[in-house]
């Protein structure tokens, strides 16, 4: 196990490094000049920009240095916990980000917990009752879930709640510690919207993983021993079938964090998503860079943890 853990952890470092290079180059080797883009604003009005202004901004952003020097100094700052200063708000990025980061994470975790709790029973039922009406129903349900655009679902939910129950999700935001009930009221709908899409996908993976495990010899042995069907499915099959589900959930989490942006903007949640859209409109590349980096780091760390857990749960993985 020790060897596997070390190997897997070592693999994580270059990936994270490549991610930082991607994030960095994405913004600084753009067609045109970020300084020009910032000065010109969203409309791309480059006519009113004087060369002197441009030179000054380039200098203050450090853009006049070679790209690898820029990258090295940026990376050094990031490693010291300095994500830079927002171009638009002129405040340290971390100040703006830290509360929003927690909101987004809370939303994402709520969504994935909701999704997995509903998806696993759905997928298992579908697999156990393969090719019955119940199976078809759950497969149709998951096909629909995958094709439903998150933002449309969000809009429909708001509409139906407002129309039938005359209830709108409360505006303004409270943290879990200040007001847990209000926090739940605010986040439950966006979390459900996000979860629905994810649920469909996870249910599908659970189903096919269960179907595979159900054909294994040890299940026949378990049945031959005279174990009750519930115990065979619940203990022997599910335990093994959940491994792929775990891996997929890791990647699903990345997908979910993308969906969060859309959902946050529909339900007006003050998370990283709304900040991201805001920084795109203001062309605040420093904030944008920080958000992308933060999300990449979260996803990579999560995947590392999942792979390590996998190694504990399934010894075969370690010897590959």
């Amino acid at each position: 196990m020790g060897k596997y853990a070390i190997r897997r952890t070592l693999l994580f470092i270059p990936t994270l490094l490549v991610a930082t290079i991607l994030v960095f180059t994405l913004f600084w080797i753009v067609p045109g000049d970020p300084a020009l883009a910032i000065l010109a604003g969203g409309e791309g009005d480059t006519g009113s920009v004087s060369p002197e202004q441009l030179r000054q901004l380039r200098q203050s952003l450090g853009l006049d240095r070679p790209i690898y020097v820029q990258y090295a100094s940026w990376l050094a700052n990031v490693l010291h916990g300095d994500l830079g200063t927002s171009l638009w708000y002129k405040t340290p990025v971390w100040h703006q980000l830290k509360d929003r980061f927690l909101v987004t994470m809370e939303l994402a975790v709520m969504a994935i917990v909701l999704a997995v709790c509903a998806a696993v029973p759905l997928g298992v039922t579908s697999a156990v009752k393969q090719d019955t009406g119940l199976d078809y129903l759950s497969r149709i349900f998951s096909s629909i879930g995958i094709a439903l655009p998150t933002f449309w679902l969000g809009i429909l939910i708001v509409y139906f709640l407002a129309y039938f129950f005359e209830w709108l999700p409360p505006l303004g935001y409270a943290t879990v510690w200040d007001d847990p009930l209000l926090n739940l009221q605010q986040l439950i709908l966006p979390a459900l919207t996000l979860a629905f899409n994810d649920l469909a996908f996870t249910a599908r993976v659970t189903r096919s993983s269960m179907l595979e495990v159900m054909r294994e010899d040890y299940l026949r042995t378990a049945r031959a021993k005279g174990l009750k069907e519930l115990r065979v499915v619940g203990r022997h099959a599910l335990k093994n079938a959940l491994l792929p589900v775990l891996t997929v959930s890791g990647y699903q989490f990345a997908r979910l964090l993308g969906g969060v942006i859309i959902v946050e903007s529909i339900f007006v949640v003050p998370g990283m998503g709304t900040l991201l859209i805001d920084s795109i409109i203001h062309r605040d590349f420093i904030v944008l860079q920080a958000i992308v980096l933060l999300i990449a780091a979260v996803v990579l760390i999560l995947n590392l943890m999942i792979d390590l857990t996998y190694g504990v749960l399934d010894p075969r993985v370690r010897y590959q």
Binding site: A147, F151, Y251, A254, I277, N303
Partner: protein
């Protein structure tokens, strides 16, 4: 070296002729509609998906003929009255939007935008990443390792966020949406293709080709790629639907296509800003269009996968949103 290539070509040509003769005798080629009918019988849901896709293509092609109004035109009724948020009825089958444009015409023209972005992203993007995957897997060693790390890193950031970031840099336009999707969303293609190539690479016909002295480029183009064609087709179908959702998401967030372009996603922006209670039709029809079209591509993709590559069953190749 040249002599060797000619020799290889001659040997392959002989083998191919034999295969071609067999194929011509097969019923699928003699009557393609029979193959389609067989597909429809075996996979009714896939056939439904195919019909939806066909309907999308026809709608996109005939858009100017079948739509009652110009999609960008703000309608002026008698006495210069602008019909803002008129409910669906005989004059406007899907009602009108917040500035007085005919929604049915915009939904019909939206099919063009969706298909354009979908096809553009898939033809350029899936093809490019497909080639990267094939070459990386075939080359192995350092090339493969580097490509793998880059793809891992790209998959660590939610595709939508990369795409949004690229849009921030490029500015909103239809072609920029395609560029952003190609760069930001399609890297997972590499993974699916790679695993396929790794198994194809060990097949006897590839080993045989190498044994008779074929060069790497030739083996890749003549032997490996044709055997990954099914995967390409399946991925292309899925990602078409996927690119359509993505364009809609971007336009919905206001960073996709400019607001006057009739994009299904862009049409929903007003609905999300609280207008939905005032005029539900403006929020329902464009969303329904996205949903049906994406469902169509997914159903078709599922059926193609089951028929062409049963081994992939259950797993949707590299779908991350």
């Amino acid at each position: 070296m040249r002599r060797q290539d000619e020799l290889t070509a001659a040997r392959e040509a002989a083998a191919e002729n034999a295969i071609l003769e067999m194929r011509l005798a097969s019923p699928a080629l003699a009557a393609p509609w029979r193959a389609v009918a067989r597909f429809a019988r075996r996979k009714p849901l896939g056939a439904v998906g195919g019909l939806i896709v066909l309907a999308l293509v026809v709608t996109a092609l005939l858009a100017p003929v079948i739509s009652p109004y110009d999609p960008r035109q703000i309608i002026r009724e008698d006495h210069d009255r602008v019909p803002v948020y008129v409910a669906p009825g005989s004059a406007y089958p899907m009602g009108t939007d917040h500035v007085g444009r005919d929604i049915v015409s915009r939904v019909i023209h939206g099919a063009r935008i969706s298909l354009y972005v979908g096809l553009g992203a898939v033809v350029i993007g899936v093809t490019a990443w497909f080639v990267v995957g094939v070459v990386a897997a075939y080359a192995g060693r350092a090339v493969d390792l580097v490509v793998q790390r880059v793809v891992d890193a790209m998959m660590a950031v939610p595709g939508l966020i990369i795409v949004l970031a690229i849009m921030a840099v490029l500015g909103s336009s239809l072609n920029n949406v395609i560029i952003a999707i190609v760069i930001g969303m399609l890297a997972p293609v590499v993974r699916t293709v790679r695993s396929q190539v790794l198994s194809v690479k060990e097949q006897e016909y590839v080993v045989a080709a190498r044994a008779i002295g074929a060069r790497s480029a030739r083996i890749i183009v003549r032997h490996i790629m044709p055997n990954c064609l099914a995967i390409y087709l399946i991925l292309a179908t899925y990602y078409l639907g996927f690119a359509i959702i993505l364009e809609a998401s971007l336009s919905f967030l206001g960073v996709g296509v400019p607001p006057d372009v009739p994009s299904w996603g862009g049409m929903l922006t007003a609905a999300a800003q609280g207008h939905i209670t005032k005029a539900p039709w403006a929020g329902i029809f464009p969303g329904l269009a996205i949903f049906i079209v994406v469902l169509g591509f997914n159903l078709l993709g599922d059926a193609l996968r089951d028929v062409l590559e049963p081994r992939l069953r259950g797993a949707r190749p590299g779908l991350t949103r």
